[in-house]
Amino acid sequence: MTAITMPESAPSVSTGHPGVTQARVVRSEWIKLKSLRSTWFSFGAAILATIGLGILFSAVRGNDAHTNHLPVLDGTQVSLRGIYLAQLAVGVLGVLLISGEYATGMIRASLSAVPRRVPVLIAKALVFGVVTFVLCLAMTLIAFLAGQSVLHGYGYGSSLSDTGSLRAVFGAALYLTLIGLMALGLGFAIRSTGGAVATLFGVVLVLPALSQALPTSWQNRIDKYLPLNIGNELISRHSEPHSLSTGAGIVVLVIWAAVAITIGVLVLRRRDA
């Protein structure tokens, strides 16, 4: 540390300030998001998983289908299946964005600067949602194109202009973004990294396994509303029986994320920081 200098007088700061605005809090959250290494590690892992596994699965499934002379293969789903690993990275990041603040005490600085609190959550959701969607859309597009070029070698490839291709690429990116926002909401609601991550993947990964214990007629009614099954529907070219349409699936995913975020808002407003 260098020599200490004293202020000569009260330092001058512009006094014509409108104070805290939502736009300013968004700017602050953007600085926060980009200045942590965990952000770029997580997005890097998601990109690697989606594109890498997309190419790998395309090669494995293409070769298998070719060898066994299968007439058709849902190549879109094969090339985008890597998002199931990527959702771990995006989900954990969504939780960490806020649980990291509670763990380090940063939350007290954040809420002292924005004492009305809720703008912090809105800004985090906006910044994280937009950044995640843009990055995920780029990576699912690359995964699709790379996967299809591998599948073309076996005679199963499709192109982006084929029916359902673009819908699947967008759907995969949207799925990851909404899982991320659900994670953020759970992070605000639960505050601890472990608790929120466990809850998130309990809902996403464990519920579909547990529903297997139900009678088939119940499964047919419940399973289609579970996030993982909606994700599967979004990246598939062909609909499974007892599944929601693309539009309805997206609406239900939005509701999942909205419920988590609403609980997050209530806890943020009511509980001591």
Partner: protein
């Protein structure tokens, strides 16, 4: 100006802050003193609206903290547990906080220089020493050049040079007419920095006083006397109804009468005095005395 009005905070069974009322005036440094666990940090969190009071109100410049439109321009706070994400650099931490209130990048750079963190500003705060963390905390408190400062244990972990710097800075900020409210568990530090004192113990207000009054109040009228005829003077004083005990150096310790009155009694009796020394308790003793009685008081009440 900071006001606490009947402020109480209950965590489960524990009453951390109990009906606390005080007013902190601008233009001087006010110390917030109490042993560890007395409720100082809780009070700070209540003032900043981080925790909701169970009863009572906290106001800063006439409003609840959260009602200020540009809080960083009104109030600067340094919280005891470091409120910094360990993975972020000092500069980015300050830039993120500054952005919420529309404070410029130039001001952030200026403050990094002011607190002497230039050389480490782009390193992750997780590697900072306690002292560097405190400097960063002070920089964030000063971001908006606020009129009111709330600092929880700001000299903790600073080297002697840093302690002196903080002390001078606080006095200077107060001299500019700002409200400066500083908590500490060290009476000796407050004696050097503060003019006014709020003392709490077990969440309750023990004293709201100036440093000078606190010393006087605890030391009371106690005078050490030595004269050419201590035996006769002792009887005269005893007749006047004051307590006289002998010290181990053979002097008399008189309680209940000031040195002027003792001198007059001696003069009227024609006894010449050799020593007449009013006793002043040190602030440390005063603090111990004040908190000890409060703890006993609480203890008996619990036993009731």
């Amino acid at each position: 100006m900071i006001e606490a009005i009947g402020l109480s905070k209950q965590y489960g069974q524990k009453l951390a802050v109990d009906d606390l009322s005080f007013t902190i005036q601008p233009g001087m440094v006010t110390g917030f003193l109490g042993p560890n666990g007395a409720g100082k940090s809780t009070t700070m969190r209540l003032l900043l609206d981080l925790d909701e009071p169970t009863r009572g109100q906290a106001r800063i410049n006439g409003r609840r903290y959260r009602e200020h439109k540009a809080p960083l321009f009104e109030v600067g706070a340094l919280l005891e547990a470091r409120a910094i994400h360990t993975g972020r650099s000092a500069r980015n931490h300050l830039l993120a906080l500054a952005a919420t209130n529309g404070i410029s990048r130039r001001r952030v750079d200026e403050l990094i220089g002011l607190v002497g963190l230039d050389s480490v500003a782009d390193k992750r705060a997780g590697g900072f020493s306690l002292g560097m963390g405190q400097r960063l905390g002070l920089a964030s408190a000063l971001l908006g050049d606020p009129h009111t400062l709330l600092l929880d244990e700001p000299v903790n972990g600073l080297d002697p040079e840093g302690v002196l710097w903080v002390r001078t800075l606080l006095k200077q900020l107060a001299a500019q007419g700002r409200t400066v409210f500083v908590s500490s568990h060290l009476m000796s530090e407050m004696a050097l920095t503060a003019e006014h004192l709020i003392v709490i113990g077990q969440g309750r207000l023990i004293a709201d006083t100036t440093i000078a009054e606190l010393t006087k109040r605890v030391s009371g009228d106690e005078v050490v006397v030595h004269s050419e005829d201590d035996g006769r003077l002792r009887m005269l004083l005893a007749d006047a109804g004051v307590t006289v005990v002998s010290t181990d150096t053979g002097r008399m310790r008189v309680t209940g009468m000031n040195s002027g009155q003792i001198g007059r009694i001696a003069a009227e009796a024609g006894i010449s005095l050799i020593e007449l020394i009013p006793q002043q308790a040190s602030l440390e003793e005063a603090f111990m005395e004040v908190t000890r009685t409060s703890l006993e008081f609480v203890g008996t009440e619990v036993a009731r």
